[in-house]
């Protein structure tokens, strides 16, 4: 379509002032919950609740209409019943607002009447230079603006991964899982019905956004598949895109149709198009997050050869299986690395890859083995299983009385401290090795959220050996794609983790 005004995404993600239309003091209402989320998130800009029936909303002066606000309004958030939205949008137009987030539902997702209203609002807004997110969106998040304009009360971890989701529930849940998966977010949009702005538009913006290193997409259906894939193809050489597709089966696409109104496509068609455009295809939302963490924090995996370091034989077996099943090689050790490892491990170690540390439990030996493996020129990366089992310290609180009857208190304290210091140290040294050798280490921790270094040196941690192997596979797939299209030479010259 011609004549549609360009969306100003800077007003959406970095607004200096926000009007919340439908702001409320009743914390059972979304107009209160969203306002509360914005306040609790620490948004530093100006906030103008709009509600003709109240003097004040949660301590802020309330306005009867948007047009009564004298200062400029960068962004309007609309959270009032559907039948009142026409008037609000007209007010926004009069006020000169250029971006609005329409939280309100009961539009095209519920039937023909809603669809008509959605079309009308979109046309009216576009004609006046106003662009809309939604309707039926759960809101947006922007790290740079400390803006959590969301229905569910999540507190996203800040970082360099951005997410666009055609399901508000899934997207907002993923955002809330940031801590658990050690993923920091830059920007998030719940697209809702995509009455006006669509995934393609957000994708185009995030492709150019310097604060976004990795783009995650939850997609149920695409309005203009060709435009989407054209845009993606321009982004993936420089920035990874990870997508997950809902509605891959008859039951799933029936559900998607009634949910977001999206026409879901056949799985095979989407999968092929994604692959051609260099988009990584994840099979769960959790996988998207793990891959997002890996791709935003680790150097590239420049080949498919992996060493595995483990403290438990069985976990080594599982990891080797997972690697092989994903097309990654787990090459046997050669004489020189065996000789080096011989100095660190008990005489009866297996001399194979996975390197099983058997009963060696010293952190020093572990780190030395890890450094030998990551520096070995026969592998492109290392999966490091630091051992899953909970340390003694973790159970002592449960059995405190019994423990106190047996052990002196200093010893209990001592065990607890050793374990927690050891874990943080290991994590920090893993980060250092990654920086030093510019190869990825996929570290599986007993508790990814437990140990976290300073943000600028942090690298991804994984919750399971299979998860680490899959992320390794995703990194390799992305490297392979870039190489195939001739991007890797340029990258080596730049010598950066990511352009």
């Amino acid at each position: 379509m011609t004549g549609i005004p360009e969306p100003n995404f800077d007003l959406l993600f970095n607004p200096k002032s926000i009007a919340l239309i439908g702001g409320s003091n009743n914390i059972g209402k979304w107009g209160a919950i969203i306002f509360l989320n914005i306040l609790l998130g620490g948004y530093p800009g100006r906030l103008y609740p709009v509600n003709p029936k109240e003097e004040k909303i949660l301590g802020h002066k309330a306005y009867g209409r948007v047009t009564q606000i004298s200062d400029p309004v960068d962004l309007a958030i609309i959270a009032i019943p559907a039948h009142l939205t026409r008037e609000s949008v007209q007010d926004c137009i009069r006020k000169g607002v250029r971006m609005a987030v329409v939280i309100t539902s009961d539009f095209s997702e519920t039937g023909e009447e809603g669809a008509r209203l959605e079309k009308e609002l979109t046309a009216m807004a576009r004609a006046a230079g106003l662009r809309l997110v939604g309707p039926n969106t759960m809101g947006i998040f922007s790290a740079s603006a400390s803006l959590t304009a969301l229905m569910p009360p999540v507190r996203p971890k800040k970082g360099s991964v951005s997410l666009v989701s055609q399901s508000g529930n899934i997207g907002t849940q993923m955002l809330g899982w940031g801590e658990k998966f050690a993923v920091g977010f830059s920007k998030y949009v719940s697209g809702g019905n995509e009455g006006d702005l669509r995934s393609e538009d957000y994708l185009g913006f995030l492709g150019q956004d310097p604060e976004t290193r990795v783009i995650l997409l939850y997609i149920e259906g695409l309005d203009d598949g060709r435009e989407f894939f054209e845009k993606a193809k321009k982004i993936t050489p420089h920035k990874p895109i990870i997508a997950f597709k809902g509605g891959r089966t008859p039951a799933g696409s029936r559900a998607a149709r009634s949910h977001s109104g999206a026409m879901a496509g056949v799985r095979e068609i989407y999968e092929a198009a994604f692959r051609q455009a260099g988009i990584l295809w994840a099979s769960t939302p959790e996988e998207m997050l793990e891959w997002g963490a890996a791709l935003s924090s680790l150097p590239p995996l420049r080949g498919n050869r992996v060493a595995i370091l483990t403290r438990g034989g069985g976990w080594g077996v599982i990891t080797a299986d997972a690697c092989n099943e994903l097309g990654l090689e787990v090459p046997p050790l050669d004489g020189s690395i065996i000789r080096s490892l011989d100095r660190l491990l008990p005489s009866y170690w297996s001399r194979g890859n996975p390197v099983d540390m058997v009963a060696t439990i010293s952190t020093e030996s572990y780190m030395e083995c890890l450094e030998l493996l990551i520096s070995w020129n026969q592998v492109d990366g290392v999966i490091s299983l630091s051992g899953h089992a909970g340390p003694l310290a973790q159970i002592i609180p449960d059995v405190k009385e019994r423990a106190e009857a047996i052990l002196p208190p200093e010893q209990i304290e001592n065990i607890a401290q050793k374990v927690s210091t050891g874990r943080t140290q290991i994590y920090q040294r893993v980060c250092e090795l990654v920086r030093k050798y510019q190869k990825p280490i996929f570290a599986v921790g007993p508790n990814a959220e437990g140990a976290s270094g300073p943000a600028d040196s942090a690298v991804a941690q994984f919750r399971s050996p299979e998860g680490a192997a899959k992320a390794t596979g995703a990194l390799y797939q992305y490297y392979h794609y870039r190489k195939a299209i001739g991007m890797e030479e340029e990258k080596k010259r730049n010598n950066g983790i990511m352009e």
Copy 2:
């Protein structure tokens, strides 16, 4: 082989007295850690640490040799260096001990010399009526004896699932995950090198054990595949067996060979044999636990038709996809159930399966919808997604200062309480509905470990929609197998959840 004495598993899992050979006061040594684990686990029987250099071990009188203990010894646990084990086993034989757990490593897993010693010990023990677990085992657990004779300090949740693992690390880790996955354990054996007793033997015992409702197996290789599958075939009609196979790929089986000495087989051969014997084949240890929880606590899924109840459209889509991909049907709603649901949901609800509750957040409506669906005669079970997003109460602690500046303290307290009561209530009522309608409800909770009812009424909870769908698939596969071999008629007559 003939002439091998029958193992007395009652002495292993319900010993009245235990000799710990190699008991130590140095908590850096396994002989101290295992002793500590037994003590912290609350074992009520008699404990005799054996250590010729000490007077007392962690407050217990120490003995120079097993033969110096005057009381009978039901079980010996051996945790001394390999070269001393011959003498210890001879002592055990003299003392008349009939079961021993050999923790000690450096046997067949490390080379020919170790293999010779392992064979010698086994032959000597068997000839004298003593049977051995291990060597190179991480130990055992028995709920009925409150016995946690384990190297890693886990505190298993008690229940009716038993586990045999050819990897001590994986098995013991799974045991430690009981709380997280809401799986209670009855018995656990880390088989180690299986120098004497093998997975086949443990399987045979657990098949007959009335305290074991579901058997989980982690297998790297089988000494006598035919015996194993013959035994399994006799058990699966009455008791589900869930297995996970390590060493499915070249890299994985190389690793398995050096780890447990097991000759790993080709994936396809194992998979086919498992299927024929009615064994459920899991693809991760986590999956084994989720299926174990489901099969030990839910009634059978008597067909492949599933209803999905969700509070978020996108999660419904994902779940429907997962079901369809696993061969489960998600049938459209019929007129009568639509009319019943119409009374509970907003006018614009989608009238489809998954049933999306849209913005209806009342617990009452949720429970009424769930009851309508589980009682509907067109489905065999329900997957219930209670909504993943964290409630306001969960984030308030993080932003306490900001929240206190905005909301009165009573209101903050009130929100927190409502959420926690609501969650427990939902879980308890799910348990009631399962009992009332004798159909499974696969409930995905925001936090499976958070809400738990009394043990006798508890039902499985799942961590993700995909996990719930896979467990639904496993229940259906098991029902289908029983039906195919003519077991389901008998079952209906017995009218029990599980024979």
